[in-house]
């Protein structure tokens, strides 16, 4: 609640600490946004949840849409009615929007439409490191690329102005290091007057066959306006110095370059072109090229600007040396930082590295050697851990253990890291568990194919696959890991929860009804905390001739703990009876709850009292009944 109060402050000039995503949200609020949409995805999720926390106060419609494509279209529709709207999403979420994007770019927009997209260089919480600037290039739309959280707020406001000026959607490209960093942010005035929606009919909105060439021409004419905007925008800035090296830095890399030059004592010598737009500011690049002999380019993910500088050099007939990712002078994969940028500068300038003290060097090496890894795990008592155990056990009963886990995006993805052998055999994108599962099943493979997919994910992307499985008769088992929230991104509600982004009650979508309506005959709900009964049902499901759907339903343990604290419910604690324990390790290896450890010396399992959340599944799994409830605590 405290954060909502800060976000709602109408006290221009005050400095407050905000997360990058909160700054983006505040920027949209200051700009008078009326419709905000999103689907949760790290690192973008907090943008919409922040707007939703003050939506009622500012009369904003804020929604978690069923997926990014719907979110995009909803926000675009509101802008067609003349309002200011924004869709916020992660980079791979933008892939879902490619279809509407490539039509609406030609129609343009009549209100202000901002697409805030968060890239994940280093893929800390994604399946790829994808560069969203390609969408700007492909759709011929302007993209702003702020360098930090403070600039991000202003960039969002600017994007609304430019969207209305250009009559086009405008992107704002963020990266994980902006979204999830905090900064002192100066609050601006909040635009409180609201527009009345009105839709002006016109040919531009109907991208039917025959419409495109004319609209495409209009979009091409707009490129001149975009070029003019880019040439004068405050987000681009050239700092000329006397030295022969010029650095071009796009987006967040500007902050790395400024720190690196400061640390290296080179800020007085090296020219820096800060780039905050895509397309890049051609005039400023030409000006830099005329003043330096060497150019070093920093940009997150792909070498787009670097390639364009080479083109500009060709056009101008000048031959400065252009170095960057293409020449292996800048690290090609993973996110950049001050240290990697410093290394590139030092190497390109051919100056000496600061030598480390050798004693320090060996201590650092030693520290690295003796640090044990901390791999990603399921939370203690996670219902998904139990569901995975149940699937595995049923697999032994129904198919001699021959199972292929066709995986998906969500907490259950961690089934790859948490278990040995992994309980995710494939993993690509939202919904692929069912689509890829259909193909594996249709291949005639002997193994039982199990698609593992979450409640939010199946609603987002699973339904067409589900219909396909049933219509085309795939022998596929779909297990829905239903924990009652979009858990991995921070427990956002979805249509299966019956609550909206702003906390209002709404129509609850029932996953078993969806499955039945898609033509699936075998649909069963299990409770993963009732192990034996569930194993029986899943075994039966695996033996079905066609598609079957199991919904494994239990509230996320972290959500349950919060609820328990609120409502004063008690948590059970379990203990291993060391007299009975035979050291078979079934609880450790087959179940794999992180609260269970193994005492090597005494060859018995043990439960970490601090970690245990009292789900009681281990007690059901133990073949010799060595695990008992000892007490209940608050």
């Amino acid at each position: 609640m405290r954060k909502a109060e800060i976000i709602a402050k109408n006290n221009p000039g005050e400095k407050v600490l905000l997360l990058g995503n909160e700054a983006v949200a505040r920027g949209a609020i200051e700009a008078g946004i009326q419709v905000a949409t999103s689907y949760p995805g790290t690192p973008a999720s907090e943008i919409l949840s922040t707007i939703a926390s003050v939506a009622n106060k500012f009369n904003i419609h804020a929604e978690w849409s069923t997926n990014e494509m719907v979110a995009f279209e909803t926000a675009a529709g509101a802008a067609m009615a003349g309002l200011r709207s924004m869709v916020s999403l992660k980079h791979v979420g933008l892939n879902w929007c490619a279809d509407p994007l490539m039509a609406i770019n030609q129609s343009g927009i009549s209100g202000g439409f901002v697409i805030a997209v968060a890239d994940d260089p280093g893929a800390y919480s994604s399946q790829n490191e994808q560069d969203s600037r390609y969408y700007s290039k492909m759709s011929e739309l302007l993209m702003l690329e702020p360098c930090d959280a403070a600039e991000a707020k202003e960039a969002v406001k600017e994007a609304f102005n430019l969207s209305e000026k250009l009559e086009l959607p405008v992107f704002v490209r963020l990266v994980n290091r902006i979204c999830h960093s905090r900064a002192d942010i100066t609050l601006g005035p909040i635009k409180t007057e609201k527009r009345k929606a009105s839709f002006k009919r016109g040919r531009r909105w109907v991208m039917i066959a025959g419409s495109s060439p004319e609209r495409h021409k209009w979009l091409h004419q707009k490129q001149r306006e975009i070029e003019e905007v880019v040439g004068n925008l405050w987000l681009n800035k050239l700092e000329l110095k006397k030295g022969e090296l010029g650095i071009v830095s796009a987006g967040v890399t500007y902050t790395y370059v400024k720190d690196a030059l400061n640390k290296l004592g080179l800020d007085g010598e090296v020219s820096v072109l800060k780039i905050g737009t895509y397309p890049s500011p051609r005039k400023l690049i030409e000006q830099l090229l005329k003043n330096v002999k060497k150019v070093l380019v920093f940009e997150e993910v792909e070498p787009l600007v670097e390639k364009e500088i080479k083109e500009i050099c060709f056009d101008l007939g000048v031959k400065p040396v252009v170095r960057g990712k293409l020449t292996n002078d800048v690290q090609r994969e993973k996110d950049l930082n001050v240290d990697s940028v410093s290394k590139s500068i030092v190497e390109v300038l051919n100056i000496k590295h600061k030598h480390l003290n050798p004693v320090r060097d060996s201590a650092l090496k030693k520290a690295q050697e003796i640090t044990p890894p901390r791999r990603l795990l399921m939370c203690p008592g996670c219902p998904h851990t139990a569901t995975f155990y149940i699937i595995r056990k049923a697999g032994f009963k129904a198919a001699k253990g021959k199972i292929i886990y066709s995986g998906d995006i969500g907490c259950y993805s961690l089934g790859f890291y948490a278990f040995e052998p992994p309980r995710q055999d494939t993993q690509f994108c939202m919904g692929a568990s069912i689509g890829v599962g259909c193909g594996l099943a249709q291949s005639g493979i002997e193994d039982v194919v199990v698609a593992t997919i979450g409640d939010s994910t199946i609603i987002h992307a699973g339904i067409p696959g589900l219909i396909n499985a049933s219509y085309n008769k795939a022998k596929l088992l779909i297990v829905v890991f239903d924990n009652g929230a979009t858990a991995m991104t921070g427990f956002q509600p979805h249509p299966g929860t019956g609550v909206t982004a702003t906390g209002e009650k709404t129509k609850k979508v029932n996953i078993e009804d969806i499955a039945k309506a898609c033509g699936v005959e075998y649909v069963k709900v299990i409770d993963p905390y009732s192990v034996d009964e569930s194993v029986k049902v899943v075994t039966e499901a695996m033996k079905q001739p066609g598609v079957s759907v199991i919904i494994s339903r239990r509230l996320c343990m972290l959500e349950w703990l919060r609820k328990a604290r609120r409502e004063g419910m008690k948590k059970k604690l379990y203990e291993v009876d060391v007299e009975k324990c035979t050291g078979c390790k079934i609880c450790v290896n087959e179940l794999g709850c992180p609260a269970i450890v193994f005492d090597q010396r005494n060859n018995v399992a043990a439960i970490d009292e601090v970690l245990c959340n009292g789900c009681g599944v281990c007690a059901q799994v133990c073949p010799v009944d060595a695990i008992h409830k000892i007490k209940e605590v608050t």
């Binding site: 960093s181 900064a183 902050t255 320090r360």
Partner: protein
Amino acid sequence: MVKREIEEFNILIAGVGGQGNLLSSEIIATAAVKSGFKVRVADVFGAAQRGGSVLSHIRIGEKIFSPVIPEQNANVLLGFEPVECLRAAKFLSPTCVAIVNLRPIYPRDVALGKFKYPSIEEIINLLRELANKVLSKDFISVAEKAGDPMTLNVTMVGALASLKTLPIEKETLLEAVKEVVPPKTKEMNIRAFKMGYDETLKILKP
């Protein structure tokens, strides 16, 4: 109060998801904003909700740009967990003061016997080689005395407040604690802050 101009001061918090590192970084950064400084903070973590390594970088001063501390530039390390301090070792400046909680959270692979957890002595000795000063204690026991082991994060902020080199006043940090922690836990966290402060002073001047 005359505003102190500083060029750069970097604080690194190393811990495990669930220990409340993010709340600590928010408290410290809020206090820095209240003190009128430019502030940048990066919370670096993976996809896990709980149990993974979490690093919070807090940078204060006029000369900073990036939210991530460059290697060998952390002036203070707040170590919530011993091996996490080692994992963060490359960031420590030779003048760094490390405040380390000595109670481990064993990684899963250690609990399963696949990896060894180094001895506390070994960890502290290595940190002594890399930092200028190491102040270590079982800060969980301090947090327990304050009322809940979960107040470790605020206890560590209290410990930080005892450092003379810190450009933020103790009172400003305490004010930020009161603002940032959930209202229900305010009294307990004020206690944790004060106990963390007092206990660290005892290590500094026994």
